[in-house]
C-alpha cells in the first residue's frame, strides 16, 4: 500500500480553506447532513490511521463506532450525563475495547488480521445484542442532546454543528500530528517492511497496538458524536456492514491520504442519503464502487490526484 509522500505546506492551506468552508456550510447546506458527513469522515480518518499508515486492514471497526455510540447514548439518556462527559465515556469505552481486541488481533499478520478483527467485531456485536442496555433491535432511541458545559443548548442545530465541527477538526489534527511524528514514521516503516523495523530494534507490536488503540478510540469518538446528531444508537452502528462501509469510504477517497477518507465519507453518505428510495441497489452500488476502485484507481480519488500532481513538475 505505497503512497507518495506529500509536502506539508499545501496540505495546511487546503485544510484552512476547507475549515472556512465547513464553518460557513450550515448557512448554505442542511446542517444535519454535513454533521453526518463529519462524523463518518472522522470515523474513516481514524480507520485510515491504521490501514493507510500502519498497513493494518481492520474489518471490524464498527465495533468501536458502535460501542462508542451505545455508551454515549446510555450515558446521556439513562445516566443523564452532560454531553461532554457522555462523549468522553463513549471514546474511552471504545479505546478500552481496542486495548483488548488490538492485543488479540496483532498476534496475526496480513490477511489473518482482517479476518480476526471481523470475527472479534461479530463477537462484540452479539454481546451488545444480548446486553440489556442496548435494547437489542430497537436500539437506544430518543437520546437527549443536553447542554454542553451547561452553557450551549445542543438542541439548536447550529450549536451542535460547531461542536461536531470542533470534534472533527480536533480528531483530524490529532491524526495529522500522529502521522507526522516520529511514531508515525515508525508506523509507516512497519507498513513498508516489518522485518526490517524489528531488526532495527523497535518493538513492533507496541507500535501497532498504540495505533490500534488510537484508531479505535477515535472511531468511538465518531460514534459517540453521531449519537448527538441523530439522537439514536442502534444495531446498524455496530453491524459488520458498517465496518465494510468505512473501508469503502477510505478506499474510495484514498488509503494513506490525509483528506481522502473525508472525501470518501462525503461521497458515500451523500450517495446513501440520495439513493435511499432505491433500497437494495445501494448495496449493489457500494459493491460496484469497491470493484471499480480496486480495479481502476487503487490509490483512491485523492491518491490519484496527488500522484498526478507529483508527476507533473518532475517531467
Amino acid at each position: 500500500m505505497k503512497q507518495p509522500s506529500t509536502a506539508k505546506s499545501p496540505e495546511i492551506w487546503i485544510g484552512l480553506v476547507l475549515l472556512a468552508l465547513l464553518a460557513a456550510a450550515p448557512f448554505v447546506v442542511y446542517p444535519i447532513f454535513v454533521m453526518e458527513v463529519l462524523c463518518f469522515a472522522l470515523f474513516a480518518s481514524a480507520f485510515n490511521l491504521l490501514i493507510g499508515y500502519g498497513g493494518l486492514l481492520s474489518f471490524g471497526h464498527a465495533m468501536f463506532f458502535g460501542l462508542g455510540a451505545y455508551v454515549s447514548a446510555h450515558s446521556l439518556k439513562v445516566l443523564a450525563w452532560p454531553p461532554e462527559l457522555a462523549i468522553l465515556a463513549g471514546t474511552l469505552a471504545a479505546g478500552g475495547l481496542a486495548v483488548i481486541t488490538g492485543a488479540l488481533a496483532i498476534r496475526r499478520q496480513g490477511i489473518y488480521f482482517a479476518m480476526v478483527t471481523l470475527a472479534l467485531s461479530q463477537l462484540v456485536f452479539f454481546l451488545c445484542w444480548q446486553a440489556p442496555f442496548t435494547h437489542g433491535e430497537d436500539g437506544i432511541q430518543g437520546v437527549p442532546r443536553g447542554t454542553l458545559f451547561g452553557i450551549f443548548d445542543l438542541n439548536k442545530d447550529i450549536n451542535l454543528y460547531y461542536l461536531v465541527l470542533a470534534i472533527f477538526t480536533g480528531g483530524l489534527l490529532l491524526i495529522y500530528r500522529t502521522i507526522h511524528s516520529p511514531f508515525g514514521q515508525v508506523l509507516k516503516a512497519i507498513r513498508e517492511n516489518e522485518q526490517r523495523v524489528i531488526s532495527l530494534g523497535y518493538n513492533v507490536d507496541r507500535y501497532k497496538l498504540t495505533a490500534f488503540i488510537l484508531s479505535g478510540a477515535l472511531a468511538g469518538l465518531a460514534g459517540a458524536t453521531k449519537v448527538l446528531v441523530f439522537k439514536l444508537a442502534s444495531q446498524s452502528d455496530i453491524i459488520w456492514q458498517m465496518s465494510g462501509e468505512v473501508v469503502l469510504m477510505t478506499l474510495l477517497g484514498g488509503l494513506g491520504t490525509v483528506l481522502g477518507p473525508s472525501l470518501g465519507a462525503a461521497i458515500i453518505v451523500g450517495m446513501q442519503d440520495n439513493l435511499k428510495s432505491l433500497g437494495d441497489w445501494v448495496l449493489v452500488a457500494q459493491g460496484v464502487i469497491f470493484v471499480i476502485t480496486v480495479l481502476l484507481f487503487r490509490r483512491g480519488i485523492v491518491g490519484e490526484i496527488m500522484a498526478l500532481m507529483n508527476r507533473k513538475p518532475a517531467k
Binding site: M1, R108, A114, G244, V291, L295
Partner: protein, 293 residues
C-alpha cells in the same frame, strides 16, 4: 428415560446432528477458502455469497426448470463454478502481484453486489426448498433425520475426496508445487494461469455445493451467506489455512462444539466459535494446524 449430564439423550444427539451438519458446511467452506488462498493468495470474501448462490441456483432449477435436488447437486456447483471462473479471468487475475488486501476488498465488493441483487429480486424473508428425502432412521439411541445424515456423509466424502485429490494424486502434486513456486511449474510447461482459474472455480464450486446441501435445511435466503462467512473466517483463523485435513477437522469439530453449546448453554451458542478463536489466538496464535511463523 436415563439422563446424561441433566440432558435427555434424545435432545443431546439431535443437537449433535445439527452441529455436525453445520460443521459439514463450515468444513466445505473453509476447505474452499484454504484451497483458493493457497493458490491465489486471496481471501475470497465472496465465498458466502457464492454459497448463497448455490442455494439459489438449486431453488431456481427446481422452480423454473423442474430439476429436482439431485440434479441441482451436480448442476448448481458447476454453474456457480463457471461464474467463479469468469470472476477470476475478468477481475482477480488483474490483481496478481499487488498487495493481498486488494483481493479481499474486491471480493468483498462482489459479495455486496451479489447479495444486493438477490435481495432486490427475492427479498429477505426466505424461500422454502423441500427436503429431497423425508423421514427418520431409528439408530436405537436416536431418530436420525435421513436428510441431515445424508448431508453430513456427503460433505465428508467430498472433503475427503478433495484431500485425496490434492495430497495424493499427480494433479494435486502440480497444484501443491504451483502454490510453492508458480514460476518453476510454469517453466515445466504447465499452464499455471489456467490452473489458478480452475482452482478458484473449484473452491467456489465447493461453496455452492454447501449451499445446495443447506437449501433444504434452512430456507433459501440472500442473507444466508454473509451470516455464515464471518463464522467461517473464525473457523479458518482457528484452524489455519496451511493444511487441507486441518480445515476439514476444524470445520466439523467446531460445528460439533457449537451443537453441544446449544444443549448446555444456549445463550452462548452464537458466540462460542469466536470465543474459541480468542482462546486459540492467546494459546497458539498460528492456529491449530498452522505452521509457526
Amino acid at each position: 428415560m436415563f439422563e446424561l449430564l441433566g440432558v435427555a439423550p434424545q435432545a443431546l444427539f439431535a443437537q449433535l446432528v445439527v452441529g455436525l451438519s453445520n460443521g459439514a458446511f463450515y468444513a466445505l467452506l473453509s476447505l474452499g477458502l484454504a484451497v483458493i488462498f493457497g493458490m491465489l493468495n486471496v481471501i475470497n470474501f465472496a465465498h458466502g455469497a457464492q454459497y448463497m448462490m448455490g442455494a439459489f441456483v438449486a431453488w431456481m432449477l427446481l422452480n423454473y426448470l423442474g430439476i429436482p435436488f439431485w440434479g441441482a447437486l451436480v448442476l448448481a456447483p458447476l454453474i456457480v463454478g463457471v461464474f467463479g471462473l469468469l470472476i477470476e479471468k475478468l477481475m482477480l487475475s488483474r490483481l496478481h502481484g499487488i498487495d493481498h488486501l486488494y483481493g479481499l476488498l474486491l471480493t468483498f465488493g462482489l459479495a455486496l453486489i451479489i447479495e444486493g441483487v438477490f435481495r432486490h429480486y427475492y427479498g429477505v424473508s426466505g424461500l422454502p426448498y423441500p427436503k429431497p428425502i423425508e423421514g427418520f432412521v431409528n439408530l436405537g439411541f436416536m431418530n436420525l433425520p435421513i436428510y441431515r445424515g445424508f448431508a453430513i456423509l456427503f460433505s465428508l466424502v467430498i472433503c475427503l475426496a478433495t484431500w485425496y485429490g490434492i495430497e495424493r494424486t499427480k494433479l494435486g502434486s502440480y497444484l501443491r508445487a504451483a502454490t510453492e513456486r508458480p514460476d518453476l511449474v510454469q517453466a515445466m510447461g504447465i499452464n499455471v494461469p489456467r490452473m489458478i482459474s480452475l482452482t478458484y472455480a473449484f473452491g467456489v464450486g465447493l461453496a455452492a455445493l454447501a449451499g445446495v446441501l443447506a437449501a433444504p435445511i434452512y430456507s433459501v435466503n440472500p442473507k444466508m451467506g454473509s451470516e455464515l462467512i464471518i463464522v467461517v473466517f473464525a473457523v479458518v483463523v482457528i484452524g489455519g489455512m496451511g493444511s487441507i485435513m486441518g480445515s476439514i477437522l476444524t470445520g466439523f469439530g467446531l460445528g460439533l462444539i457449537e451443537g453441544l453449546t446449544k444443549v448446555f448453554y444456549p445463550q452462548a451458542s452464537n458466540v462460542v466459535v469466536y470465543v474459541i478463536m480468542v482462546i486459540v489466538l492467546l494459546v497458539r496464535p498460528q492456529g491449530l494446524f498452522g505452521a509457526p511463523k
